[in-house]
Symmetry: C2
């Protein structure tokens, strides 16, 4: 039990994170009663996303919040650098040791793996990096949201919204999660059917693979 009744959800920010990985789940979970969302980084201040054209404010340092109730780690092109950031990985290991839930979006799961948290754990990532999970001893699962014990991982970028609704159901209740879904009118109707490699045209899959390789 904490001295105050708020539940802290920590969203770590780092150079070249993907904005929607963080803000999608944020705008679901901020509506859960009793939740306080905290934007963390090595230093308080602006943190830039993968293209450098968006900046979000981190208000708190990792050291200032060693034991959040929930960790929600966004992915991004900067996840590769984060995987060898020992100062961050040490924070993540310590946070996970005390967390209720440790969660990730997209390539965030690779960072959980690099911290040694996924050994023998069923986990997912975005479709382009799913196989890479096995190098950390994880069991790659091609699903939208995968929970194994207190570790919850989600697929690419927009899958974080689905995961956050799942998590809202656990943190509060199905009724609260359903109310939030209605508040954000999450009744998706994409104009195309191209959101997964099994649905997209083969040439689209190839084009995105090639683009992703050049972005790394």
């Amino acid at each position: 039990m904490k001295e105050i009744s708020l539940m802290d959800i920590a969203i770590p920010l780092y150079d070249r994170f993907t904005a929607l990985d963080a803000v999608g789940p944020y705008d679901v979970l901020q509506h859960v009663p009793g939740v306080r969302i905290v934007w963390l980084a090595h230093e308080a201040g602006l943190v830039r996303n993968d293209s450098g054209t968006l900046a979000l404010e981190a208000t708190t340092t990792f050291e200032q919040l060693p034991h959040p109730d929930v960790v929600l780690l966004p992915g991004g092109l900067g996840a590769g650098a984060l995987m060898s950031d020992e100062r961050f990985l040490n924070w993540l290991r310590e946070a996970h040791a005390h967390s209720t839930w440790t969660t990730s979006v997209c390539t965030g799961s690779l960072v959980l793996g690099a911290a040694g948290l996924l050994n023998g754990v069923r986990a997912t990532s975005n479709w382009l990096t799913l196989d890479a999970l096995s190098q950390f001893g994880a069991i790659p699962i091609s699903e939208r949201v995968v929970d194994d014990g207190k570790i919850v991982t989600s697929a690419g970028v927009s899958a974080g919204i689905d995961m956050a609704l799942w998590l809202a159901g656990k943190l509060a209740s199905d009724e609260v999660a359903q109310s939030i879904q209605l508040m954000i009118e999450y009744d998706p109707q994409p104009p195309y059917e191209s959101g997964s490699p099994s649905k997209a045209k083969p040439e689209t899959v190839t084009a995105v693979r090639e683009l992703f390789a050049t972005m790394q």
Copy 2:
């Protein structure tokens, strides 16, 4: 034609905007080749969202970008105040007079209405404020994305992602939009079926209506 070949997409920020209304479309449209997304506000600096727990950086003032190619106006609890912000409304009217597309998410359409841009125009908004569009002479349409001439409006919060994919198809091509959908793995699988008032339980609809009334 502009002196440079970039297409400017202006996202106005204002006190108490909804973060996902802005960042969802942003993380789709930033992948359209040749697009530059510009975060605008009355003053450059941090702008806080509806709950005050997230801050995004505005880099440019409205006066500095009078004629963007695309306007993308997010909704939010602050939309009400924006509807009587004459300085902003004047910018919006001038921008719309020159834009290729003028678009909105959620309650952003009420602000387009307040600027006088929706007279006789088919438009949508989030389900809680859809009827309010008629006071501006608009024709309220209960659809996810509604285009009428160069004005494109979308339903609540998460509908901005669907609209942005539609817009990516127009700004570039279907193939580009489909590639972006695959990049952000937008293959939604919400854990509940509660994203619209026609799908949610009646008691959920009532609860959200009451919550929305207290938030205003």
